[in-house]
């Protein structure tokens, strides 16, 4: 059995985050020593590692909870897991698309700045029908 610090080092999950997961019922509460300190088994540490891997893949906690409940079942409900994963995958793809469009838009705005004119073309573009210094002058 391991103290929380060791569990943290072995699982890669921050100590405060481990306690947070316990509070939120994402992982079950471990046993305690006589003095009230948390004691983790290797299985419990593996579970923390699992949560971390899922988080690294960007899965939200709600989905990870479902994974954990499915992982207890005999066939592990592969179809359900796949649906959740593919859904997440498409969300990631959508995010990439959005960001790529942002990237383009920003790069365009930034390029205009290279001229180095007096009034910043970037702010001008963003203001368009403005509120800036132009109004006053």
């Amino acid at each position: 059995m391991f103290a929380i610090g060791q569990a943290s080092r072995q699982s890669g999950v921050n100590i405060e985050t481990i306690r947070y997961y316990e509070r939120e019922g994402i992982v079950p509460a471990p046993g305690r020593s006589a003095a009230g300190r948390r004691l983790y088994s290797t299985e419990e540490i593996a579970m923390l590692r699992f949560v971390r891997r899922c988080r690294d893949l960007g899965f939200p906690i709600s989905v990870i909870k479902t994974f954990l409940s499915l992982s207890g079942q005999d066939d592990r409900r592969c179809a359900e897991v796949k649906i959740l994963a593919d859904d997440h995958l498409s969300q990631i793809s959508a995010k990439i698309e959005t960001l790529t469009r942002l990237q383009d838009a920003l790069a365009n705005l930034s390029r205009n700045c290279d001229a180095g004119t007096a009034a910043c073309p970037m702010l001008e573009a963003l203001m368009q029908d403005g509120f800036g210094a132009d109004e006053a002058g």
Copy 2:
């Protein structure tokens, strides 16, 4: 002068968000009617629209505050704007890279599931040195 609902519709900023921006000092507090209702000028609405455009481009509020303070100045400090924008741009690029790697990893995991074996290969992979049903059996 326009009530907050109209300002919201014209700027594309949610009513609650407008009040939030005011509370946080992101935009100045507008005048009020005799009954205490907010009244916005077209310049103030343009400013809300500016904030929204920046948010749409993913700029954090802190940077937008800087933009707004720079936009009051005569030369609009183009160089500073450009630095902030390019910094943001590189953060976006980094995020895209991360997500693309995630996308690959997830797609790989999901592909394995197509076999439709009894134990879900995806959960297996994520558990690896596990805590799941295997332990018990």
